[in-house]
Symmetry: C2
Subunit: 178 residues, 2 copies
């Protein structure tokens, strides 16, 4: 029998993961404003000081969790066509950002030290889609961010109603036909 390999990095990563999981669970169960560090610590099985030592305060921890959530767990849908893939990605992005956790995430990311990471992550996802169709002309990642991601987020933050799916499809067509 081999003893399990214990690495400090591994333990540290597991502690972080249990704290992130506790935050995600609590955010689903209760109002964001009522979540506290002692509550998270109890759920994660650590002491509050572990959290304060690593993140400093609750806002920083929430921002860190929000950042981690920006990273999608799975590759975006491959529909077999560039417009189809962009529609699938954009519809999912609209759904996620327009949800209560998504809106909370947009707030937390802005409060974090590196909100610009947001465009980097989105850019990576869109580039991965473009890479599936190397022979097709495309407008580039920056244009796609400007025409697809920006209106989705802007309308969630600053308008009465979210972007409608019909307009989202039109914007994708506009982006691809330039």
């Amino acid at each position: 029998m081999t003893a399990p390999t214990l690495r400090p990095g591994g333990r540290s990563a597991r502690v972080q993961e249990s704290i992130h999981t506790a935050v995600r669970e609590l955010l689903e169960e209760q109002d964001r404003a009522s979540v506290t560090v002692p509550q998270i610590a109890a759920r994660a099985g650590v002491t509050p000081s572990t959290i304060y030592r690593r993140w400093g305060d609750l806002a920083a921890l929430l921002a860190d969790v929000a950042m981690a959530r920006l990273q999608p767990e799975t590759e975006s849908t491959n529909t077999g066509s560039l417009p189809g893939d962009l529609r699938a990605w954009a519809e999912q992005y609209l759904d996620e950002m327009n949800s209560e956790p998504g809106r909370g995430m947009l707030r937390d990311v802005q409060a974090s030290l590196k909100p610009a990471y947001c465009a980097t992550i989105i850019g990576g996802q869109l580039q991965a889609i473009l890479n599936r169709y190397p022979d097709q002309p495309n407008p580039g990642v920056d244009r796609l961010i400007n025409l697809i991601a920006a209106p989705i987020v802007f309308r969630i933050l600053f308008a009465e109603a979210p972007l409608e799916v019909e307009e989202l499809h039109r914007l994708i067509d506009i982006a691809l036909n330039q």
Copy 2:
């Protein structure tokens, strides 16, 4: 000699204006995080309780001032052409939002009770421009918001660098050529 007309609404409006002015001045002079209600009250010549009674707290007052600042003081430049007017409007909007007071304003508006007022105000400004050219085909205010205002704000909040003016001009061309 006629006694000056005293209306409660007039006095109330003057008090509000002096408080707004005090906030605007203080935000130009010092770091936003260091501005306090007693400081604003002293500058405006009112008691702190006047501010607390009317706005509740500092965040609500800052949000209210931010909202008021969204309303432009002057009509946007009339260049004689629709693309020219949109460029003038968009370049000014980019400049203002990308400034330190502009970024603070975007934060304050989100913290306010009616951030959606933001798109309404922008829509009104863009509609006023479209109204100057009733005989020209145009994409409508919503499309202009999606293609011009949204990328400006999204990149300020979530990207490494603001939108470049060249890309802004391209987006205006795209919006007008649909």
